[in-house]
């Protein structure tokens, strides 16, 4: 059985603290903070929650920046650097590491991941 919450499918058999980490933007710390705020004990599973508790969780999550909002913010930050012509923006555009790492060897992750938003949106200065 699966619980649908804010566009994400959460398996019902999972512990609440762990299931909340399935959201983009929520890790173990924020999941623990949410459970403490709503007085959900550590071994509580999703199917044990009442309707009111699920509504409280969704209210808490809607007040936070997660999923598409967070992804959009990250992309906007990168685009901002590109648009104002900073060094960081150029590195993103070229697909090189941004934070001063070496490029003689080992820039694999940067080459794979950097600049994909810029190329996607067809951005050019």
């Amino acid at each position: 059985m699966v619980l649908h919450l804010l566009g994400v499918n959460l398996p019902e058999n999972k512990i609440v603290r762990v299931a909340l980490t399935y959201f983009y933007g929520i890790g173990h710390k924020t999941a623990q903070r949410i459970c403490s705020k709503l007085s959900i004990h550590k071994t509580c599973k999703l199917h044990e929650l009442s309707e009111s508790q699920i509504q409280q969780i969704s209210m808490e999550l809607s007040n936070m920046k997660i999923e598409t909002d967070l992804k959009r913010e990250v992309i906007n930050n990168i685009m901002h650097h590109r648009s104002i012509g900073t060094y960081k923006g150029k590195r993103h555009a070229m697909g090189y590491p941004v934070r001063g790492q070496r490029t003689k060897t080992n820039a694999r992750t940067a080459r794979r991941l950097n600049g994909r938003w810029i190329r996607k949106e067809g951005f050019s200065t």
């Binding site: 623990q32 903070r33 459970c35 403490s36 705020k37 007085s39 959900i40 004990h41 550590k42 071994t43 509580c44 044990e48």
Partner: protein, 445 residues
């Protein structure tokens, strides 16, 4: 390629193939050769089914006859194949009744009475002792000098307020604190007293049960745990509780219960309506505390879990102290003497097995360790440890160890060495520590 086995019918095909085969490989007899292959059509077996063999190890589940006073013929835990393994020899033990706690019986083994075992199945044994009981035919313990001393204290407490008898059992790891507490609970159940026994206090504080904040008192209530505890107490002490009536009217949420109605009605409300379970439990403790007919024993194993910070978290993500949880706080009130039963006793047993729950403030209050001048200890926890009596449990004496070893040898088909040698070897190696003695016999030194 096997061109030898041609069907007689497929002669035409064979002729076409002859173009590709060298004439020397062919022999004329092959062309007319009939089918002589080893592949034969499968003959279906008749409908008579063969009996399945029972297998190398078969499960020998015996039904437990708990209510009948029948001598056991086989150990209930013996599940191995009778043809290959000898069953353990049957040892006939007497019941551990209150009369048995006498100086002459030190070192003798007694089993729990058959009427009391269902009550322990409701409360459940402490997890470590449950493992230790498994190779033996039925749960049984040895009478020790400390068991006689503790039962004398309990006997004196039956005419005094529980605030005067607040005992904590202490000692090394594996020395027999939980077993001693179990014997005391058995003594009280036989007497009869009203007994509230918590075999594993850690489950109250390890964040395994739901909890809700009470905004008025700023405490956290555990409704399902309170209901479970009420259910257990009702199942064990039902007959005695029918004689106790309420002294005044009470209102719990939407339920009203009038005075002079039995206490069991109040417990039923708490069990059915979980939202008022804790309230019902508190009122229940008050009411039975006032009664004069039956003394009350509150026994808690791993009591040090109530003196350390819990795994529950507050709204601001800080760990809660046990006095912020309503159920542990109520039990701590009885240990601290802030609330008491008219007649009865409160006993707790420390446990060193669970390291995160070893309580430094409690050890300081009992005199087991000295306070460090550089550290501050939580005052709220120290307040609940005032006035506790320490009861040290020693290792086995020689007579006790000999009696226990004799029982292990009698009840097992493994330990067949000479008993004197075994006793000397194990007693010297383990220094009489009960758990080490048990492990050395059943798992080797």
């Amino acid at each position: 390629m096997a061109f030898r086995h041609f069907y007689f019918k497929t002669l035409n095909k064979q002729i076409s193939l002859n173009h590709y085969i060298q004439p020397s490989l062919l022999s004329t007899c092959l062309i007319v050769q009939k089918r002589t292959g080893t592949a034969k059509p499968k003959i279906k077996k008749s409908a008579a089914k063969t009996q399945k063999n029972k297998g190398f190890l078969k499960k020998n589940l015996l039904k437990k006859s708990v209510n009948e006073d029948v001598e056991p013929t086989l150990s209930t835990s013996f599940t191995k194949n009778k043809e290959l393994y000898l069953p353990p020899p049957v040892v006939v033990l007497e019941e551990m009744l209150p009369e048995v706690y006498v100086e002459e019986n030190i070192g003798k083994i007694y089993r729990f009475p058959p009427e009391i075992i269902p009550k322990f199945e409701i409360f459940k044994f402490p997890p470590i002792l449950e493992q230790e009981f498994s190779p033996l035919p039925y749960p049984s313990l040895a009478i020790r000098q400390s068991s006689i001393q503790l039962t004398k204290l309990i006997e004196n407490a039956s005419q005094k307020s529980s605030a005067e008898t607040r005992i904590i059992l202490s000692g090394e790891m594996g020395v027999g604190k939980s077993a001693l507490l179990l014997q005391t609970v058995n003594y009280a159940l036989c007497k009869p007293w009203i007994v509230i026994y918590i075999p594993f206090a850690i489950k109250f504080v390890n964040s395994s049960y739901p909890y809700i904040k009470n905004k008025i008192t700023n405490e956290f209530v555990q409704p399902t745990l309170s209901a479970e505890l009420l259910k257990q107490i009702k199942a064990v002490n039902g007959k005695l509780l029918q004689d106790i009536t309420l002294t005044r009217d009470y209102k719990l949420n939407k339920h009203i219960i009038k005075s002079n109605s039995p206490v069991i009605g109040l417990m039923d409300i708490g069990i059915k309506d979980i939202s008022c379970a804790f309230q019902a439990f508190e009122i229940f403790l008050d009411e039975i505390g006032k009664n004069v007919n039956y003394p009350i024993l509150l026994a808690v194993d791993v009591v040090n879990a109530f003196y350390t910070s819990t795994e529950y978290t507050d709204v601001d993500d800080t760990y809660l102290d046990p006095d912020r949880l309503s159920l542990p706080r109520t039990i701590l009130d009885y240990f601290a003497g802030k609330r008491d039963f008219t007649y009865g006793a409160v006993i707790g047993a420390l446990s060193l097995c669970h390291k995160p729950y070893i309580s430094k403030p409690l050890n300081i209050a009992l005199g087991l360790s000295t306070p460090s001048p550089w550290k501050q200890y939580p005052q709220n926890i120290l307040n609940y440890a005032v006035g506790l009596q320490r009861f040290d449990v020693p290792n086995y004496s020689q007579t006790e160890a000999k009696g226990v070893l004799d029982y292990y040898c009698d009840g097992s088909s493994i330990l067949q060495q000479s008993r004197d040698k075994l006793f000397q070897k194990t007693f010297i190696a383990t220094n009489g520590n009960p758990r080490k003695l048990y492990l050395s016999c059943w798992k080797g030194l």
